[in-house]
């Protein structure tokens, strides 16, 4: 199953031999989607299928990345492969940008087109008493023409989102310090600053979880809070999920660093995770402005 064409020298372009990881991962995801589809429809067993699928999938990923890491460590990856990784990570991040674009687009459309339209003169035929004002622009409104949404308070930028902004920006700096340390060959320092970065990620997620709890219990701001709640939770939740992923990536990189992986001039694994982290950071800035301030 493992690497071939390995006669000590680095091949021009390493092509792995047959591998059971892809098909196993696909089987894992099969159970995931099978389970998810059933679970959302109220079939309890779906949750188990989903869990089983996740376990399979994560196990496979662990082995798969393990293979890749040992191939990398054994010097199979030429510079050209390094370039491939760079390209692929960039394009992957581009795809994530477009994923976020769909949700930002939804927010834009709902706020600037649908809502004003629902409140205009023509629409008084349907919604005679509706005032089309985005909830964050006036306290107490729900932007729900049918009045079906319970009153809620919107989430302002103070204090948690602003603290979180600070945390993410700081984490960008600590990550850069770690990177410079790695380039300078100061492994202990790298590892230290990586742990700080991971920790900042965790704190961010902690604050966000707290913010959600606060929203649910005190502001009555829920997923069901009309279009405001929908876009608020979709954007921040999807972002939070990406922070979680990025944090995991950084954690894995940190653990690898403690194992002695990466050199001062060859450490794309590190850089890829860092790019992803910065991307998550930038998306947050967008969110911070359009979701919390506007």
């Amino acid at each position: 199953m493992s690497a071939v064409s390995n006669h000590g020298a680095t091949p021009y372009y390493f092509v792995p031999g047959p591998s059971r990881h892809p098909v196993m991962a696909a089987i894992g995801l099969f159970f995931v989607i099978l389970g998810a589809g059933q679970w959302v429809n109220g079939h309890g067993w779906g949750a188990w299928s989903l869990l089983l699928g996740m376990v399979i999938w994560l196990t496979v990923l662990y082995q798969w990345f393990g293979d890749a890491i040992s191939e990398s460590q054994s010097g199979q990856y030429s510079d050209r492969i390094d370039v491939s990784f760079r390209w692929s990570m960039s394009w992957f991040i581009f795809s994530e940008v477009m994923f976020f674009a769909a949700f930002f687009g939804a927010l834009y459309w709902a706020r600037n087109h649908s809502l004003p339209m629902l409140g205009n003169l023509d629409h008084q035929v349907l919604w005679p008493d509706f005032k089309a004002i985005w909830p964050s622009a006036m306290a107490g409104l729900t932007a729900s023409p049918a009045g079906t949404v319970e009153p809620f308070t919107t989430m302002g930028p103070w204090p948690i989102p602003t603290i979180n902004t600070g945390i993410l920006l700081t984490s960008g700096i600590t990550l850069t310090i770690a990177h410079h340390a790695l380039i300078a060959g100061q492994r202990a320092k790298t590892i230290f600053w990586m742990w700080v970065t991971v920790l900042l990620g965790v704190v961010f997620l902690g604050f966000q979880a707290y913010e959600y709890m606060h929203a649910y219990s005190e502001l009555n701001l829920k997923l069901t809070s009309g279009i405001y709640g929908s876009t608020f939770y979709m954007l921040t939740g999807f972002h939070g999920f990406h922070v979680f992923l990025g944090m995991l990536m950084l954690l894995i990189i940190t653990l690898r660093l403690t194992k002695g992986h990466f050199t001062a001039d060859r450490h794309f694994g590190f850089e890829g995770a860092a790019w992803y982290w910065h991307f998550v950071d930038v998306v947050w800035l967008g969110l911070y402005i359009v979701v919390y301030w506007m």
Binding site: L118, D122, H123, V125, L126, P145
Partner: protein, 361 residues
């Protein structure tokens, strides 16, 4: 089968004969565009077939070796650019005219329901009239039988929309459940009806007669069975119709505070059921596939009558069971009483219109 005037003709190969200015303009545009496209097509593929005939190896053609020419390339970028821009210009005026719904003589709201149209005359002569237009039930049965007949098959409705000739009629579309589209080809009109939103379109019919269309946006299983029939009448006939319709509506209007006997409610409810509910839940109340049976349903049998009232007023399962709030209080009361006392359901409960009024808040 014969052609249906105002509806499809047998083996019709062109747009409907236009009955409005817009439809006429559309037809002209279509002819114009067809001619231009055909001309380009013939020219371009004429060259290709000439080449196929002459430049084949079997007739001894030797291949030349040119493979670039900037001037030619620029030419065949610019010329099509000019052509399409000209096409765009030609259409612009019609686009603007089509969207101009101002200064209408008559405004009618058309609401799409799964699966019927509701019409409310909002402004102009006839204001206040409202009714539902449903496919004639015999047509639906014919469809099921697999052996339909009739020139107006699938186009016959119980209450056609009636409008005066030569007047600008503004149609406001909206919907109750999912998206539908209100289309009358002879008028050159098609407008999606979107739940929660209103859109509008207009027409000014230039001749009297009957004109037909169908719902043009996938709206669920009975999508093919919610036709549109517009009757265009002369001004006098229209006024007469308005008078008649108003009287009819006044006579039919139910007083929601009236107290009914159970037998009367069941009798009335059976009719309401047949024309609204039976498509899905079936005449025997057994439902089919994903559609719940009413016969023996816990919600129908529930001792708390409000359970079923709420289902009818608000729908259920994301609107898979649509809300029926457009029915009158009496109709809702009647149909609930009917289902509570039909088939194997023997609750003996009666729901009075006043209870529905209360439930509406």
């Amino acid at each position: 089968v014969e052609s249906l005037p105002g509806g499809p003709a047998v083996n019709q190969t062109d747009l409907h004969p236009p009955v409005t200015k817009i439809a006429a303009e559309v037809q002209t545009l279509h002819y114009g565009l067809m001619i231009v496209c055909l001309a380009i097509f013939v020219a371009v593929f004429g060259v290709m077939f000439y080449s196929i005939l002459k430049h084949r190896k079997s007739v001894g053609a030797k291949s030349a070796n040119f493979h670039e020419s900037v001037s030619v390339e620029i030419a065949w970028t610019i010329v099509p650019f000019i052509i399409v821009t000209a096409m765009g210009f030609a259409a612009t005026k019609t686009v603007v005219a089509q969207k101009d719904t101002s200064n209408a003589d008559l405004t009618i709201k058309a609401t799409g329901y799964q699966w019927k149209w509701g019409y409310d005359y909002l402004k102009g002569e006839g204001e206040g009239i409202n009714f539902l237009a449903t496919l004639d039930t015999a047509q639906r049965e014919m469809s099921n039988s697999g052996h339909p007949s009739g020139d107006n098959y699938l186009l016959k409705v119980d209450n056609p929309l009636v409008v005066p000739v030569g007047k600008k009629v503004r149609i406001i579309t909206t919907a109750n459940d999912v998206i539908h589209a209100w289309m009358v080809p002879a008028f050159g009109v098609k407008q999606d009806a979107i739940p929660g939103f209103v859109r509008d379109t207009w027409f000014k019919a230039e001749q009297t007669g009957d004109f037909y269309g169908q719902c043009a946006e996938l709206c669920g299983k009975e999508h093919a069975y919610m036709p549109i029939h517009v009757k265009v009448l002369s001004a006098e006939d229209y006024s007469a119709w308005v008078q008649g319709k108003k009287k009819e509506l006044a006579a039919k209007a139910d007083d929601p505070s009236k107290v009914w006997t159970q037998a009367d409610l069941v009798a009335r409810g059976e009719k309401v059921y047949a024309s609204n509910c039976a498509v899905c839940h079936k005449a025997d109340g057994k439902g089919a596939g994903p559609i719940k049976a009413l016969d023996g349903s816990t919600k129908v049998l529930d001792a708390d009558k409000m359970v079923q009232v709420q289902v009818l007023l608000n729908g259920q399962n994301n609107g898979a069971m649509p809300a029926w709030k457009q029915l009158s209080d009496t109709e809702i009361a009647a149909v609930i009483t009917y289902t509570k006392n039909s088939w194997s359901n023997k609750t003996g409960q009666t729901v009075q219109p006043s209870e529905v009024v209360a439930a509406r808040k």
